[in-house]
């Protein structure tokens, strides 16, 4: 039966000529409505079904998508967008300005279960969206906001489908109607999603007949499926990249930096961690080079500020490298604070040893490895660190608890920027983001607040760069969190796939040109 089945499958496969790009999703998409989505799977799928006003190219630069042209008035608050004509929704209706206005009004409505509302509320006031004509949209901002265009990559949804209905439970969240190069053909929940090419796509017809996403929740299985050619493209963990170097295989590997960093969040309400000298001592105790070598096999860069290597605002080392690995400095800083080494080699003050608890989420062996290395570095410098594991839901619950001060000392986290602009730091480092926002550690610094406020008002990149250099200088001095590294991301691509792009935007940035070897 087996060999017969296998032959049969091969026979059908050959007669059908494989023209579908197969990929894996770790989970079913929650929804295929770009306004509602918050999970990785939904993002991946909707990006081929919908278009935004703008999109990011392979270098993560903002380029025009549905927009033909745009202008900003002198005050920097009124944006006028001219839309491309002749674009059709998958159901054949024409795409018009009212769809754009509807999309952003839906995001702003408190009834919509979206996490993007705060993007379009500036200084407590919403951005005003109006259709001037069928192909002209005006957005009026309460105040200038330099990264505004970065936020307009979100997919536009059709007004004629959703208007007047509950967008959260709408059936078209499962049967999306977009303007993108692919349309959803079939969705077998927990099994696969099949997209087929949109023959009326405004930029041309894709070379692929379609895309199949297979839902494979287990990372290892997904990796095996890539090895066997059942899927053509898959993110790979770094240890697999290293271990497969000796193996011959049909898989090419791309690597690139992303908009992310790993760090140890300090609870700044903690009596010891609120002391900047202790924070500096902790930063100087950690050998980031060893961390990168042991955890990332060398594929990463040391981090001292919340930035990304890809950002135009990324500061140079003379600004950031303030409290680099120097165990002697750690000891002298602690001694100056009145700590003395006891017989066990641990610093103590008034008989109390210097010790912290590090919270980590369960699941990844890499996270555990980082935690253990930190424990090692700290103990070398006479600081005790205990590790506490929680599942992701309880982990986040502690970090976002309403009881202030929150019940943790430190937590190991990765941070992913939503947009490639330094203003994305605003929510997590401005004092207004605490306790109800995303300033999780409770960082409050008037100078940083002022610079963050200034940075988003300036439209000129050179003057913004100066502002953010000043800001990074303060953060590098202040060590509000223990920044660890910027990791590289790896994607494995099957040899037979042609037309992939190379860069931080990922391999599928020119999806129309992706095809297979004949």
């Amino acid at each position: 039966m087996v060999s017969c089945s296998k032959k049969n499958e091969e026979k059908i496969a050959n007669s059908e000529k494989k023209r579908y790009l197969n990929m894996a999703l770790l989970a079913d998409p929650a929804s295929l409505n770009p306004v509602l989505i918050a999970d990785v799977s939904s993002h991946a799928v909707t990006s081929f079904i919908f278009n935004g006003l703008f999109r990011r190219d392979v270098d993560l630069k903002i380029v025009k998508d549905l927009v033909k042209d745009y202008s900003v008035d002198a005050s920097g608050t009124v944006y006028t967008f001219i839309l491309k004509k002749g674009i059709q929704w998958h159901d054949g209706k024409a795409f018009k300005a009212k769809d754009v206005v509807f999309t952003f009004q839906t995001i702003l409505s408190p009834l919509t279960n979206t996490v993007r509302r705060n993007h379009f509320i500036i200084k407590g006031k919403p951005v005003l969206w109006e259709a001037i004509s069928d192909y002209e949209v005006r957005a009026t901002l309460p105040s200038p906001y330099s990264p505004f265009l970065e936020l307009l990559t979100i997919g536009i949804i059709p007004e004629h489908i959703f208007a007047g209905k509950d967008v959260n439970k709408h059936p078209n969240n499962q049967q999306p109607i977009g303007t993108g190069p692919f349309m959803l053909k079939e969705w077998r929940s927990s099994h696969f999603l099949k997209l087929v090419k949109n023959k009326n796509y405004y930029e041309g017809v894709p070379l692929l007949d379609g895309i199949i996403y297979k839902v494979i929740p287990d990372m290892n299985t997904a990796f095996f499926a890539l090895e066997r050619g059942e899927i053509h493209l898959q993110g790979i963990p770094v240890h697999e990249v290293v271990s497969r170097k000796e193996r011959r295989s049909d898989i090419k590997i791309q690597s690139f930096f992303s908009l992310n960093y790993s760090y140890v969040l300090f609870n700044l309400d903690h009596p010891l961690l609120s002391n900047v000298k202790i924070r500096r001592a902790l930063s100087a105790a950690v050998d980031r080079r060893v961390l990168i070598d042991k955890v990332l096999y060398g594929y990463g860069e040391a981090a001292y500020v919340p930035s990304s290597i890809l950002s135009w605002a990324h500061p140079n080392a003379s600004i950031t490298h303030r409290y680099t690995y120097e165990p002697e400095k750690t000891k002298s800083l602690l001694k100056a604070e009145g700590y003395r080494l006891n017989k066990k080699g641990v610093f103590e003050k008034f008989g109390k040893p210097l010790m912290f608890t590090l919270l980590i989420p369960k699941g990844s062996s890499d996270i555990k490895k980082i935690a253990q290395l930190l424990q090692h570095f700290f103990s070398e410098s006479g600081i005790k660190l205990s590790i506490q594991q929680h599942d992701w839901a309880s982990f986040l619950k502690i970090l976002r608890s309403k009881d202030i001060p929150r019940a943790y000392d430190m937590a190991l986290l990765g941070w992913q920027f939503d947009i490639n602009d330094p203003d994305d730091m605003y929510a997590s480092w401005h004092s207004s983001g605490y306790p109800s926002g995303t300033n999780l550690g409770g960082y409050k610094d008037k100078r940083v607040d002022a610079l963050l406020e200034k940075g988003r008002l300036l439209l000129d990149r050179d003057s913004r760069k100066k502002v953010y250099d000043d800001l990074f200088t303060i953060i590098a001095e202040d060590v509000p969190s223990l920044f660890l590294f910027y990791p590289k991301t790896f994607v494995g691509i099957h040899q037979s796939v042609r037309g992939v792009t190379e860069g931080p935007g990922g391999p599928l940035k020119s999806i129309l040109k992706v095809s297979f070897d004949e």
Binding site: V115, I212, K214
Partner: protein, 329 residues
């Protein structure tokens, strides 16, 4: 079946309802007590806490646990299992579309486990302390000791990667399924089910052999078997006619208890092989704290447990009419 029998069945069926309510209520409490809620599925800590509060109140999660439970119960009574918090889809249809895949996996594993474990158990019991018995016993302890997730991984690495004869995952290949005939579609599903079934069967056969062996040994040692032997009845007849009927009584008990856990045991396998069944959906719902889906799956599986207990009780009287329900007399 007599009048008393029907009354007994009606009574047992009526008891099912409060039982299910009790199970679901306790489950609901436990689910609510676990940390996090569906908004923690918005994994990204960069999402605003205020927005999460708003979503929480839109979903009704700010109400008391008791209120939420009774609302759920009220909807269930009117045949509505609710909507997934994550996808917004009706839970009932989500469950129904997963049943075929789960049945393929569970029933074929069950069938294979029975076919293999009964003869091997009998063999082991009949030739007690022979080389056969030792061999089978060692193999079954090994089978029970192997963790299922590990076995599944080894299966993929060996059969899919090394030998390249079975697919790593999935229910069928969506690239070619629509173009295949009905029979090749069925063949494709069986072909894809081979490794998941194998992973379930190994542990299942191993433990069922132990049960079957034990119950046969017990029966074979009893007086009436000795008496039958004394009367010169052939070994075959003793084994298959005299002993087997009594040995099956305890096996029915085991099967009744174990059949629902076969559904549960396949959770891990479904997850690893990307098998689109109820188990995988249940596991995902646990991770995302998708209460309506989780409650739906729990309701379905507790229904199975309760029903299979009920059927076990009925089965007893066919195996042994003395067991006092009087239903079959």
């Amino acid at each position: 079946m007599n009048n008393y029998g029907w009354r007994y069945i009606a009574f047992r069926l009526a008891v099912l309802i409060p039982m299910l309510i009790g199970i679901t209520f306790i489950s609901f409490l436990l689910i609510q007590a676990s940390p996090g809620d569906p908004t923690s599925f918005y994994h990204n800590p960069s999402f605003g806490i205020d927005d999460l509060e708003l979503i929480r109140s839109n979903l009704g999660l700010d109400r008391s646990t008791a209120y939420q439970y009774f609302l759920w119960l009220k909807h269930v009574m009117s045949g509505n299992l609710g909507y997934s918090y994550i996808t917004g889809r009706p839970v009932f249809s989500m469950i129904v579309e997963k049943i075929p895949a789960t049945l393929v996996l569970t029933l074929s594993s069950f069938f294979i486990i029975m076919v293999l474990s009964v003869p091997l158990g009998v063999l082991s019991a009949y030739h007690q302390q022979s080389i056969w018995d030792y061999g089978i016993t060692i193999m079954s302890f090994l089978g029970m000791a192997i963790p299922i997730f590990w076995l599944a991984m080894i299966c993929i690495m060996f059969f899919s990667l090394k030998l390249n004869i079975f697919p790593t995952s999935g229910y069928y290949d969506p690239n070619i399924y629509p173009y295949a005939s009905f029979f090749s579609q069925m063949g494709m599903i069986l072909y894809h089910s081979f490794l998941p079934v194998l992973s379930i069967v190994v542990g299942g056969v191993a433990s069922m052999i132990r049960y079957n062996r034990a119950s046969f040994i017990q029966v074979l040692g009893s007086d009436y078997i000795t008496a039958a032997r004394a009367r010169g009845i052939s070994s075959k007849r003793i084994l298959f006619v005299h002993a087997s009927k009594n040995a099956f009584i305890s096996m029915v008990t085991i099967i009744g208890l174990w059949l629902p856990s076969l559904f549960g045991g396949s959770f891990v396998v479904e997850y690893i092989f990307g098998w689109p069944g109820l188990g995988k959906m249940g596991v995902e719902a646990v991770f995302t704290r998708d209460y309506p889906v989780l409650m739906g799956v729990l309701l379905f599986s507790s229904f199975l447990i309760v029903i299979s207990n009920f059927l076990t009780d009925l089965a007893y009287c066919f195996v042994d009419p003395r067991i006092g329900t009087g239903v079959c007399s």
